[in-house]
């Protein structure tokens, strides 16, 4: 179902591959994409080792992070992965997957068609519920998945709930995290519904098969999402 105020704060596709991509190839891809994604930040891992004879600083190159002018479209060209991310406002799967496919084409032309170790599609949703000061929210009204704490005498003030399970289709796994999060808005309570559908075995290699799998994973994610929310939540997204 398409919502006019989709609660998606971030949509992510990650293609994690075997082997390591050379920094030169990554730099070349970032140059090719510099017009559309002008913000280009190197990604490094810093390691500080304290030893008897002093401290040692080691840096490890992880890749480059490219962003569009409004910072909502992001690509991480990593030594071990390719990540496409879209921050809110989410403008729909068709636009997101088309942009991902077009940048992945450029990536593949430079680094070759790699064998994957994991493919992930993750959607981070934040459900903003308008509340009055000191109002108590019944989570059950909005989420079909919620913690239950019988007989503890009062409303909970924070919760985190995580489920990992096979989805039972397409060899996919689901990592579902639900939690309260500080609302960025005044007069709202906010709940996270973070859905990560991934696959680590029998991964396709042909680009059209990868795209086909991504479409199906997104379909599975949608099914889980719709199953987790109630009509009261749907009303908030209209």
């Amino acid at each position: 179902m398409a919502y006019s105020k989709a609660p998606i704060t971030e949509a992510v596709i990650e293609l994690r591959h075997h082997g390591v991509v050379e920094p030169e190839a990554i730099d070349k891809v970032s140059k090719l994409l510099s017009k559309e994604y002008p913000f280009d930040e190197p990604q490094q891992h810093l390691d500080i080792r304290i030893e008897q004879n002093g401290a040692r600083l080691e840096t490890r190159y992880l890749g480059r992070r490219l962003s569009s002018i409004d910072r909502t479209d992001i690509f991480v060209l990593g030594v071990e992965n390719f990540i496409s991310s879209r921050l809110a406002p989410y403008s729909g799967w068709d636009e997101f997957i088309a942009r991902t496919a077009s940048v992945w084409d450029v990536w593949r032309n430079q680094v070759g068609n790699r064998e994957f170790s994991r493919i992930g599609v993750r959607f981070v949703n934040r459900i903003d519920i308008p509340i009055q000061k000191d109002e108590i929210v019944d989570i059950e009204k909005y989420l079909n998945l919620h913690p239950s704490a019988p007989g503890l005498g009062g409303p909970m003030s924070a919760f985190t709930l995580q489920i990992t399970r096979p989805l039972g289709v397409d060899d996919c796994n689901l990592l579902l995290t639900s939690a309260n999060v500080p609302s960025p808005l005044l007069g709202f309570a906010s709940f996270l519904l973070d859905l990560d559908v991934s696959r680590e075995s029998n991964l396709p290699r042909k680009p059209e098969d990868v795209m086909d799998l991504l479409h199906r994973m997104r379909g599975h994610k949608n099914q889980v999402f719709e199953g987790c929310i109630t009509d009261a939540a749907r009303e908030l997204f209209k």
């Binding site: 992965n81 809110a88 924070a158 808005l185 309570a189």
Partner: protein, 204 residues
């Protein structure tokens, strides 16, 4: 308080992000729980960047603009697209390195956060004019004729405001320091629609 239902939630005064750390434990089970809680932030990676220390004025402006845009993305579903686009253009212009006084620092992200929360809370139809103070705050102002409202957005949802309006041929001036949540009530006697709802300016 006796509440029968079991899925009731009331936000804590100090919000907790994802998992709270329990009292330390040293047994195998306690360590396994601690590991699992650490693992809560290790799914398919999010692309949000980690903070870094700014070095030059240009880098500070660059970082400020980037963090403003990322902050806005978190609430973008509550903003009209065109309105958001035009707001970014205003900030691009405000924080342009070539026009910036190098002795000043850009507004803080905490002030920008208050500004954004104020806009979403008050829902003005007109975008404000924007400025920045030497105290690293965003300053928003609306002018209609000779009537003017200025709001300085402080960190932690505080607004320092002052206004000047003509009421019954008398020029009135008022000022105050008010939390965003109370702003609509405090401004009501001055009919703030004169600034927020003018017909001759594009609506959000």
């Amino acid at each position: 308080m006796n509440i029968a239902a079991e899925s009731f939630f009331r936000p804590a005064p100090v919000p907790v992000l994802l998992a709270a750390s329990p009292t330390a434990g040293f047994g195998r089970t306690s360590l396994a729980i601690a590991e699992r809680l650490k693992g809560l932030d290790r799914p398919t990676p999010s692309s949000l960047p980690r903070s870094k220390q700014p070095k030059s004025t240009e880098e500070q402006l660059y970082d400020a603009l980037a963090s403003f845009k990322l902050h806005t993305a978190a609430v973008a579903m509550h903003l009209d697209r065109d309105w958001r686009y035009r707001l970014f253009r205003q900030f691009d212009s405000l924080l342009a390195a070539e026009d910036w006084d190098v002795s000043d620092q850009p507004p803080s992200v905490e002030s920008f956060s208050t500004f954004l929360r104020m806009l979403i809370f008050l829902k003005p139809l007109r975008r404000p004019g924007l400025g920045a103070s030497s105290d690293r705050t965003v300053v928003a102002s609306w002018t209609t004729g000779n009537d003017r409202l200025t709001m300085e957005c402080l960190p932690d949802d505080g607004i320092r405001w002052h206004l000047s309006v003509l009421i019954d041929d008398n020029r009135e001036r008022a000022a105050g320091l008010t939390p965003v949540q109370r702003l609509a009530n405090v401004l009501a006697p001055y009919q703030p629609d004169r600034w927020f709802n003018a017909d001759n300016v594009p609506a959000r």
